[in-house]
């Protein structure tokens, strides 16, 4: 797989964008794979009782999914050396139906000496941000 050349990158460059889609099956699959069985991610009654509008995606499912844009761009999953986010707004997942999560990646910092690039992700649902300060430090 080809990897980006750090010498050609500049702050503000858009590395790409994609849409990831969650349905209830995706939430159940993530619950099983991660071991996070909190019922707010699969039980409507429980979610409403907890003060939520309905079942919401695991924040970690959103975080874990959107970073794929950066991994595929970098060409190596081991290139991600630091990754952080804030969970600012829950992602509701209807039943039946899907939630569409849009992600755009932009180069935020280039450190040629360290060989690292910080990619900043903007993650939205219907135009509203669901994650804040989402930064992925990649070693190229």
């Amino acid at each position: 797989m080809s990897r980006p050349d750090i010498a050609t990158l500049a702050v503000g460059d858009v590395i790409g964008s994609r849409t990831v889609t969650f349905d209830r099956a995706a939430l159940v699959r993530y619950a099983g794979a991660s071991g996070d069985l909190n019922p707010i991610h699969w039980n409507d009654k429980f979610a409403v009782g907890a003060g939520l509008p309905g079942v919401i995606a695991h924040g970690m499912l959103t975080m874990g999914s959107v970073v794929g844009l950066v991994v595929d761009w970098a060409g190596d999953p081991g290139a991600v050396v630091d990754y952080q986010t804030r969970f600012t707004k829950p992602v509701e997942v209807p039943n039946p139906g899907t939630a569409q999560v849009d992600v755009v990646g932009t180069v935020g910092v280039v450190d040629a000496e360290a060989g690292t690039v910080r990619v900043d992700l903007v993650v939205t649902v219907d135009g509203g941000k669901v994650l804040g300060r989402t930064q992925v430090l990649v070693r190229l």
């Binding site: 794979a33 924040g59 952080q84």
Partner: protein, 161 residues
């Protein structure tokens, strides 16, 4: 509200988590990670890894086990039904790969109670245990090779929030 006495507390290294290749594949499918290094041993070795590589957020599986030592302690007074995840950060000192035996040292870095909202920040220091039984050197800073640091903040809403 969360018990502020827990701030600054640390836990001994926990029972090791064995990273299996099918768990890496299962987690990769669940987060839509299609890179061949998560799925195919030949591809992973071709990229210079000894075995399948875990996706960047896989460490949460290991960290959440360690965090439960604190979260599920009744004395910590964390009502899990009123918890929302506030933030998360992974720092990878090296990628996690299949075959790793990972032990975690949990630290409760911060417990802040502000009105009806409590914020608790935990830090998991994750180490790969040596593949061979060795006598640990007294100078060693941890129980093995430092692999990852996971910092997580939970917000707990009180009954009135």
């Amino acid at each position: 509200m969360a018990n502020a006495d827990f701030e600054g507390r640390s836990y001994p290294a926990n029972a090791p988590y064995s990273v299996g290749p099918e768990k890496i594949r299962e987690f990769a499918v669940a987060v839509g990670a299609t890179h061949p290094a998560h799925h195919d041993l030949v591809a992973a070795r071709g990229s210079g890894y000894p075995d399948l590589v875990a996706p960047p957020t896989f460490a949460v599986v290991v960290a959440q086990r360690a965090e439960s030592q604190y979260i599920s302690d009744p004395e910590a007074q964390i009502d899990f039904t009123r918890v929302v995840h506030a933030d998360e950060r992974f720092t990878h000192h090296r990628p996690i790969v299949a075959g790793d035996e990972l032990t975690t040292v949990l630290h409760v870095d911060r417990v802040v109670v502000r009105g009806a909202i409590s914020m608790v920040t935990t830090r998991c220091e994750i180490y790969a245990m040596p593949q061979h039984v060795e006598v640990p050197s007294p100078e060693a800073e941890g129980p093995g090779e430092h692999v990852a640091t996971v910092v997580s903040t939970l917000a707990i809403r009180g009954e009135d929030a």
